[in-house]
Symmetry: C3
């Protein structure tokens, strides 16, 4: 039962369903999922690329064209108990075209802006603005040019490489 109870859009590829744990998620079209992902009842948009071993639990919303690197963990509880249920934290929202580097950890209830870039291994403890870059524990933060962050259609160098398999 490694993929169950999900609503999955057309063209989305789960590369290793037998090595995945995906349940009750709402997933858009033309996304890709690597091996060993653990995806709970979250909401994932279109054209997202979820790399191996990502952990995305209930309470997370990814918009469109989001990159989630290998081993990324989204938290959904600030003070997790050993027992008791999840209290329903405010959701974490990752906006269009944001890119989250390998092994980053995202604390609960945050917003990551359009085209934001999260460095590999970062621990994200605060909101990250549109076009902003967050490195490590936030000691280094810089914004992209206003122009580049002003729209999610032309905001990233790598955006140009994006070639959806359909319109």
């Amino acid at each position: 039962m490694p993929v169950e109870g999900c609503q999955i859009g057309e063209g989305t590829v789960i590369h290793h369903p037998e090595l995945s744990n995906i349940y009750n998620a709402k997933i858009g079209k033309e996304c890709r999922f690597g091996a060993f992902v653990d995806i709970g009842p979250c909401e994932i948009g279109d054209w997202c690329n979820i790399q191996a071993r990502a952990f995305i639990p209930q309470g997370v919303i990814l918009r469109n064209r989001v990159f989630v690197g290998p081993g990324v963990i989204f938290c959904n509880d600030k003070y997790p108990p050993s027992g008791g249920g999840w209290k329903g934290y405010p959701p974490t929202e990752v906006k269009n075209n944001a890119s989250i580097g390998a092994g980053a950890i995202i604390l609960p209830g945050l917003t990551i802006g359009i085209c934001a870039r999260i460095g590999a291994g970062s621990i994200v403890t605060k909101d990250v603005g549109d076009g902003e870059e967050w490195i490590l524990n936030g000691l280094s933060r810089k914004s992209s040019s206003t122009e580049s962050s002003s729209t999610d259609l032309k905001c990233q160098p790598w955006r140009k490489r994006w070639r959806p398999t359909s319109a």
Copy 2:
């Protein structure tokens, strides 16, 4: 053979035995294990919550009601070789009601105190006292009030949420 040679207490739930690697461990009652966990010949108490992708090798002792977040890694060798056997480091002990945040890494041979809280993504290089909080690489450490750390029965806000399924 993803779960083998273990002694497992009553009421413990391994959510995805087919996606787990649990061997020769001694596990107490009413624990919960997420997907993709890798659990060696360690010792786990009662009512522990082990989230997805946790790595707990030989030489680790978890007492009761310990929370281990997703992707947490316990090390058991300070200078790991590419070859040769494990030398039998002093064990790492995590005491009652401690909570270890997502993706934290615990170096070998340490003690983590009663009700201690380890922040997500932390690298724990030293002992953490009862009721103490350890953030990132230990730059920020603070203790809870004496009262709150004086007993493991009333030490954590989240303790109140704990509802065992049996007495």
Copy 3:
């Protein structure tokens, strides 16, 4: 299909092929692989020890007797897009007898020297020299004695513990 298209040397052990994703890799002799590893079209030498949950994609070269700790991630793209193909970054090379601690993240295109030691949880953003130690985000770096780093035959204390199962 969890192990496919690989060239694997004699005496190499994949402990849990059913819980692995290994494809198109060239792997030497007498290596060991833990559970939940995700190994792409990379090149791995002889006597390497790849612990559970390691992520080694295309563009990575490990020489001989390399230790890769649990949860280590090698990146191969500095600005990963949500879509589009991999651009063929310069490779990351890890030289003989290097040891990479648990949960470390290695950025793309780097060289890690002979007998180098990468601390657990480190984020490696620059080349690491022969015999050098890299801790956390590189704030602490120190070299071993010239003697100890001068050759890969006598460079590590743990080297002595290495006992290949055959000549």
